[in-house]
Amino acid sequence: MTAARRFARDRWALTGFVFLALLVVVAVAAPLVVGRVLHASPYRLGMMDKVKEGGRLVDVVSDGGIPIGPSASYPLGADLIGRDVLSRLIYGARVSLLVSTMGTLLAVLLGLLVGLLAGFYRGTVDTILSRFVDAMMAIPILLLAIALASVLPQGNVWTVVLILGLVNWTYLARIVRGEVLSLREKEFVEAARALGANDSVILARHLVPNLVGPLLVFGTLSMAGNILLESALSFLGVGIQAPTPSWGNMIQEGMAFYSVAWWVVLFPGIAILLTVVSLNLVGDGLRDALVPGSQERIGL
């Protein structure tokens, strides 16, 4: 049975995949969906606007500062300064998916490089790199991320990508090192060496293709963690800065008002939950499909 078939037979994984595919489509087409379909804007303030609800005009934000809840004009309600929550949620998906994907790619690149070198060359190179990885892993991720956020330029999407990449690569480096230590002893590597292939050819042409499975599984699961980490950073005020919407900063902005404007925090919370669960389902499905029976070995 092929890996694709094994994946397709996992209904939970498939459900997660469909949700993520839809999310990506909506996020990519956000300007179209928000502008042309919803006729809304994630940035436009409605502080002084009125909308017709139940035959009467109501303030989008009341004189007491409470925004309108889910209604015909605002399907998911308005936020505290009268912005459309649905539009911000869709634009927030772009930010959350972009930073988590790019952050994961950066982590994969760094982890792959360090893991390959440590596992392939062993000896002193392995000792130095592995101890460095150990030292990095000893620092709590959130603490490291906040420390990096405080020294890097704040509010920039690419800063958050850099932070996510720099705090996550160590796990992959360990996995790759373990895999490479095993693969370098295989016959196909010996054969390549006997045919005169140098180290870089062996690494690039023979070892990396054999690491695709673990990389894909790690990448998917890491994306879920990155979405949460980006949300946590934005929630703490060191991630994506206003007015750019991200699911994390949407929750942060509405947190103090959850008792009177629950929609401001509930919907981004649900979006995070569904996306993270979907990524986990897809990750688990991929692991079962690509590396059958090896869950314990790759330590995922």
């Binding site: 500062g65 009177v260 939950l273």
Partner: protein
């Protein structure tokens, strides 16, 4: 399928977020006087909370709005204000002085006598002499106190400021007699002398701990400090050496690091009695709708103006047309909603609650076409980019996000730079930081428009650090008229002059007044004696408990 830690976390977050409450519509805001707590009685321990530490517990250095209530409970000076809510609280009364001073030489010489029973608290317990007052006023210049500009008219202050002298010949101490001579009559000078900047500090302690006096306070007021642990708590105990009316409470504890939302929950649960924080809008709406708590919220006009300052020495804010364009771009009515409607739209710089002040109603309705035309006339048809500074205390970030969007509507792209509240004032008031554009809020130190105009827009008060004229606005007409108005004794003439100055300031627009906000404070059901004093925020010595007191946390030292 395994359940991963971040999956668990996300489930937890979702459950937490879905635990929201129901919607309440806020009621209109009205002034609620403190409830009658019966006959005050002595004793007990009250607990207040606050998020940030007090700036200092040093009368020469402390100048934070919320720190004031604490420092003014510890440090009293020659005069105090009447212990009354509302405008009646603006009446000056003798405190460490025997009586109100005799004013001689056409209002330029103030003659005080220190009370014979005036004493420093622990550990000194010694008599306070006129020399202690002289030392404390001179110390302000030595420690570069933010209060220095208020005392610049004392004879000899100019030489001390210039560094050519260390003592003030205008302050003469003879035993218990204190004479203060100023260069020109100033009807507000007694109010200025009542500020805690002039509270006596014992020389022997101040010289021993020149940099850490906040940790070695010697009280002159109704309370003394039993403990000050930064980021944790301040504990005050009644000062038995205070010669005035003693405090009702035995002890007063200020717990630090408590957020606004937590503070409200703690007060409602009866764990604490109050706090120095604005009731969050969401909680405000709920509490006002709750008959048990509606009367425990004190909403009052603290004579405040929230405004944006524009550094007129920097481009493009050096052009009055740009400044006026920004005035026209802002819709202040939208900003008022951020404060749950607690306040009024500011069409003038001086709060309209100030005696003699009158609303000017300038720029209260936005005119974006006019703003764009003014920008085009000034050479910025496509707007410009700038940075807008502010601090993270709610609801300032939300307010600035609205301002940012309103400015963007006329082409001005303002990047927000939101920092911690603590340290913001010192950053903004340091001219070497060249802050171009920022948010500021000013609450009256004393009841006179000079506290706004002289302090915030008089060019003669610009200093390198601790500079309150954040716009660096230096207009000779405005400077001259402010200083002239300060010498006029007749109330109606003064009021007319202040209005002319306000009009000129609104025309020149170095500051963009946004709102005159009201304060809201929440107090526990067992606490009485609270009211927003017109200048002193809260008189802690007037607080008392209605029910049986809790055991005191510490014994008086």
């Amino acid at each position: 399928m395994t359940l991963r830690p971040h999956l668990l976390l996300s489930l937890f977050v979702a459950l937490l977020l879905s635990a929201g409450g129901c919607v309440h519509e806020p009621r209109p805001v009205a002034y609620v006087p403190g409830p009658d707590g019966g006959t005050p009685r002595r004793g007990g321990h009250a607990v207040f909370v606050r998020e940030e530490d007090p700036d200092y517990l040093d009368p020469g250095l402390s100048y934070g709005t919320y720190s004031a209530a604490v420092t003014e409970a510890i440090f009293h000076t020659l005069l105090d204000y009447a212990h009354e809510p509302g405008p009646a609280g603006a009446t000056l009364e003798p405190d460490l002085a025997q009586s109100l001073p005799e004013i001689r030489e056409n209002g330029t010489l103030y003659c005080f006598r220190v009370r014979p029973d005036a004493r420093f608290g622990a550990p000194l317990h010694r008599h306070i002499t006129a020399a202690d007052f002289k030392y404390s006023i001179e110390r302000l210049f030595e420690v570069e106190s933010p209060g220095v500009p208020f005392y610049r008219h004392i004879v000899g202050a100019d030489r001390v400021i210039a560094g050519s002298a260390k003592t003030l010949p205008g302050v003469i101490a003879r035993g218990d007699s204190l004479y203060i001579r100023i260069t020109a009559p100033d009807p507000t000078f007694l109010h200025i002398l009542s500020m805690s900047f002039t509270a006596p500090v014992p020389r022997e302690v101040a010289e021993k701990y020149p940099r850490t006096l906040s940790q070695h306070t010697v009280a002159t007021g109704p309370f003394q400090v039993a403990e000050f642990t930064p980021r944790r708590r301040v504990i005050l105990v009644r000062n038995p050496d205070y010669c005035g009316k003693p405090a009702w409470l035995d002890t007063f504890e200020l717990r630090l690091g408590v957020t606004q939302a937590n503070a409200v929950a703690m007060i409602r649960r009866g764990q604490v009695d109050g706090g120095f924080f604005e009731v969050p809008p969401a909680e405000f709406a709920r509490l006002r709708a709750d008959s048990s708590w509606a009367h425990q919220i004190d909403v009052s006009d603290g004579l405040e103006t929230d405004y944006l300052f524009l550094n007129v020495r920097q481009k493009p804010f050096d052009d009055v047309r740009v400044r006026q364009a920004m005035e026209w771009a802002i819709d202040r009515r939208a900003l008022l909603k951020v404060y749950s409607g607690k306040g009024i739209v500011a069409g003038e710089f001086c709060p309209v609650g100030m005696p003699g002040a009158r609303p000017l109603g300038r720029y209260v309705t936005p005119d974006r076409a006019r703003a764009k035309a003014l920008l085009a006339e000034a050479g910025y048809p496509n707007g410009f980019r700038t940075k807008l500074y502010g601090y993270a205390t709610e609801p300032v970030p939300r307010l600035l996000t609205i301002v940012q969007q309103q400015l963007a509507d006329v082409g001005i792209q303002a990047e927000l730079d939101i920092g911690e509240a603590i340290g913001y004032t010192s950053m903004a008031s340091d001219t070497s930081r060249h802050v171009p554009f920022g948010f500021y809020a000013w609450t009256a130190d004393y009841v006179d428009p000079s506290n706004f105009f002289d302090t915030l827009v008089n060019g003669h008060r610009i200093t390198a650090i601790n500079n309150q004229n954040l716009s660096l606005f230096d207009d000779p007409w405005v400077n001259h008229h402010i200083e002239h108005a300060m010498t006029v004794a007749d109330d109606s003439t003064r009021a007319k002059l202040w209005r002319e100055i306000d009009e000129r300031v609104m025309d020149d627009a170095p500051v963009l007044p946004l709102l005159h906000t009201f304060e809201s404070r929440l107090y526990s059901l067992r606490l009485a004696g609270w009211y927003r004093h017109i200048t002193r925020i809260l008189k802690i010595e007037d607080l008392y408990l209605k029910s049986a007191p809790r055991p005191a946390a510490v014994a008086a030292r």
